[in-house]
């Protein structure tokens, strides 16, 4: 047993090394970074973080990202819930094909869609809004949410529905007051995955925004290319992007593995 637990430990150390380096860099001064190699920051400084928290172009990047990610999770889950229910309870004409078609949208490279998306959202007047990014991310998040929720819903016995209808519940009332509370865990897991994939996707988010809804990624790219190479600032900005994900994952830690496994293929 001892020997076997070495593998996960080594793997986790490997995962943490680049993250450690990013965090260490963010506390170093620019002179120290460019001056040479040091394993720990010799002089701890919060300058990079101070810049981010006092400069609106920086901290609005985070706020914008969080707004469209939350918006996307809410939209995705809201429309995916009834659809997943339909897939788990009824047979429709062409439901298998429909399901595969939904999944194929995960296969389209974002790079393929970047330009048409830009034109589409400009045409409907949503360019540079949070809603545009939130809707665009629905492309890959809705199929995923349907997939995960359907798996959880199939675990709920059908007798629950039938009893409720016999008791005179209307469908919307049954769905919101009885059914959804029953698959709370599933909703949590689906929301987590929506949050995750919307948070990490940057190509579409960057393409669809200019000023008002600019995500943190765009601000970071600008720093990397324009002002020489402010590594400390870049590292601090990167470190801060890890935190929301880390918080969210802590809440769903007991369900993450389950979320994927329950889906059908």
């Amino acid at each position: 047993m001892r020997k076997r637990s070495l593998i996960p430990i080594v793997y986790i150390l490997f995962l943490l090394l680049p993250i450690y380096w990013l965090v260490a860099m963010s506390f170093k001064t620019t002179q120290e970074i460019l001056g040479g190699f040091s394993l720990f920051p010799q002089v701890w400084t919060l300058d990079s973080y101070r810049t981010i928290f006092t400069d609106p172009t920086w901290y609005w990047g985070y706020i914008n990202s969080i707004i469209y990610v939350s918006l996307n999770s809410v939209i995705s889950i809201t429309v995916a819930l009834p659809a997943a229910y339909a897939f788990s309870r009824y047979r429709l004409l062409g439901d298998k094909q429909l399901f595969f078609w939904l999944l194929t949208n995960r296969m389209a490279p974002a790079a393929v869609f970047a330009l048409p998306f830009l034109q589409l959202y400009s045409a409907v007047g949503l360019f540079d809004t949070h809603l545009a990014v939130a809707l665009a991310h629905c492309l890959f998040n809705i199929p995923l949410a349907v997939w995960i929720l359907e798996g959880f819903m199939r675990g709920v016995p059908k007798e629950l529905d039938e009893t409720a209808f016999v008791d005179g519940y209307s469908f919307p009332r049954f769905f919101t007051t009885i059914f959804i509370p029953n698959i709370k865990a599933g909703v949590g897991v689906a929301a987590f995955f929506c949050f995750m994939f919307s948070w990490v996707e940057m190509l579409l988010a960057k393409t669809l925004t200019a000023v008002e809804a600019k995500p943190i990624a765009a601000t970071m790219t600008k720093t990397a290319s324009s002002a020489g190479y402010e590594l400390g600032l870049l590292a601090a900005a990167g470190t801060l992007t890890i935190i929301p994900g880390a918080i969210v994952i802590w809440f769903v830690r007991n369900y993450i593995a389950k979320g994927f496994a329950l889906g059908r293929v």
């Binding site: 680049p18 194929t104 790079a111 996707e201 994927f260 496994a261």
Partner: protein, 287 residues
């Protein structure tokens, strides 16, 4: 049995509407581009299948596709076995399980451009942790921006770092669903660890492994942001994967026709391989 109920279509409608809006309209735009020639000023001319013929014959496309295929191949043969091994050796219960899961899932929650930037900082020859260690402690001449082999190793290691956890999480989920009596029966029969793996664990993991391989295939075949931020496609063209080349053509040079044709071929390849794999894996289930 599930009931047949065509009214349930109404429940699916919102999803259909949103996904179709996001998928069909842009897809039609791409199809439109791919059969037309443009000289700017919104002037478009019918070009038939010309772009497709050009692309199919283009050396540049073949090279980029080859690199993309090689990348995906390497990713799959490294990440899938590695993920299985790690999942097998993880603790099944107790305090360390959530700790392991959270730490392992961490890389997947980092925005992709940050992953690229992070690995850039990590591998800088003189001031990055890995770069310094390789160059000054081990004495290996390592510079990702100069040496194509080093660049390739770096993007592969980065992807392994980023996504192996997905395979681990999925396999782990499959493993914990195996009831204890299976193992007890194997013990009574005196089964070797290999036999336990081959006849109990592997079959139980098959479904989640299918998902894992499918997701890893789709995502690594479409990977763009991380290698682009890390290497920018260089040195030279050595790490210009198909997706990177596509963005160069469409957003960089604004050659909409060739880019559209290339997107469609690209999408068709992804779809075909995924479908073949999906059909093969699920066909065996029925027998």
């Amino acid at each position: 049995m599930r009931k047949v109920n065509q009214k349930a279509w109404f429940l699916v409608l919102p999803v259909l509407f949103l996904v179709a809006f996001n998928a069909l309209i842009p897809m039609m735009t791409v199809v439109n581009y791919s059969v037309q020639e443009t000289f700017g000023n919104n002037l478009f001319l019918w070009h038939g299948l010309g772009w497709f013929q050009d692309i199919m014959r283009s050396e540049r496309f073949h090279a980029a596709l080859g690199r993309q295929a090689l990348f995906t191949f390497l990713i799959l043969i490294i990440e899938v076995p590695l993920g299985i091994i790690i999942a097998l050796s993880m603790p099944r219960q107790g305090f360390w399980v959530p700790v392991c899961l959270v730490l392992m899932a961490l890389p997947m929650l980092i925005p992709w451009n940050v992953v690229g930037a992070m690995w850039n900082i990590f591998t800088l020859p003189d001031i990055g942790l890995a770069g310094y260690f390789l160059n000054h402690t081990l004495g290996i001449d390592y510079d990702m921006t100069q040496d194509p082999i080093a660049a390739w190793i770096t993007i592969i290691v980065m992807d392994v770092w980023h996504w192996t956890s997905l395979v681990v999480l999925l396999c782990y989920a499959g493993l914990v669903s195996i009831p204890d009596p299976y193992y007890q029966a194997a013990k009574i029969d005196g089964a070797s660890p290999w036999a336990v793996f081959r006849y109990i664990q592997l079959p139980k993991m098959k479904q989640v492994l299918t998902i894992a391989i499918l997701l890893r295939f789709m995502d690594s075949f479409n990977v763009y942001t991380e290698p682009f931020v890390l290497t920018g496609g260089g040195p030279g063209n050595s790490t210009t994967l198909l997706s990177i080349d596509l963005v160069k053509i469409s957003l960089g040079q604004f050659d909409l026709g060739p880019a559209g044709a290339m997107s469609l071929i690209y999408f068709a390849i992804t779809l075909l391989v995924s479908w073949l794999f999906y059909t093969l894996m699920t066909r065996n289930d029925r027998n």
